[in-house]
Symmetry: C2
Subunit: 141 residues, 2 copies
DNA sequence: TACTAAATCGGAATGATTATGATCTCGCGT
DNA sequence: ACGCGAGATCATAATCATTCCGATTTAGTA
């Protein structure tokens, strides 16, 4: 996606367009490995030497609030984000930390949002499977 | 639940029966507010003065591995556990951190385990709604 | 082009969790 | 009942992802 298209995406959600934001949004959407803040920083620091890790944290936080990226549960104590456009579920291996994308079964979606009680305004839904992947299978417990 | 019943539960999953473990299992199952490790420690330290916070962490970890309690996503950077026997979904207010129990709609359960690809062995499933609760509603963003 | 609020930077501070190593104790076998 | 050994507990220190801070820079507007 070109820089001007990325800039337009930022404007569309009311965020100022800056160099770091374009670079980070691009990196998050390009990286389908559910990167951590540190992952993104390491991926960008070569081409953006002045980038600060604290900017990555702040920018990701702004993106999550704006709905540009989704936040996963922490894995191994690290925040992980998902910048893909089509929501899907995740399976997280509790042995090695690998994250697998799981296509949600549309007929078996989680409780539909309108059925939630009271005045809860829903920002996002996460469906996560704690698993042991085939790599780690030999000693599951 | 009596101490001997709690002890039996521990034995059933292959865990040694100790004073701290009985106290922590009791506290987790009694406390329906999805407590953090610190919450449990504070709840028990008066009656168990020698209890160590690190024991609470280690014991909770053992309980999660044994399937006695479930782990939720971190809220405000803290681990939260759920010791109730009947699994249910959760709505987490991202403004104030409150956690609400959501009764899952049985007709709309998440992807059934047998449909997961490959050799993934499923330990647990989490369905979590990020919400803004009615208390925090006025300024949702 | 000047102004202002917001964004960025770098480093220090925070704080939940984990690691460590020295006791203690449960559960088993004698 | 007693002793043994593996595992549990304790107290403290270390870790490290994340947040906070004040100073500086910059985007967007008039």
């Amino acid at each position: 996606m070109s820089a001007s298209e990325l800039a337009e995406r930022l404007r569309a959600v009311g965020l100022k367009v800056t160099g770091p934001r374009i670079a980070i949004l691009d990196a998050v959407e390009r990286n389908s490995n559910h990167p951590s803040a540190e992952d993104i920083y390491q991926e960008l620091v070569d081409t953006h030497p002045s980038l600060s890790l604290s900017t990555v944290y702040g920018t990701l936080s702004a993106f999550v609030k704006a709905g540009l990226v989704r936040k996963l549960s922490e894995v191994d104590g690290r925040l992980r984000v998902d910048g893909t456009k089509t929501p899907h579920d995740h399976a997280i291996c509790r042995m090695c930390g690998a994250i697998f994308d799981i296509e949600p079964n549309p007929k078996k979606a989680p409780t539909s949002l309108s059925e939630l009680p009271d005045g809860l305004a829903v920002l996002d839904v996460r469906v996560e499977y704690d698993v042991v992947c085939s790599e780690c299978k030999p000693t599951p417990f």
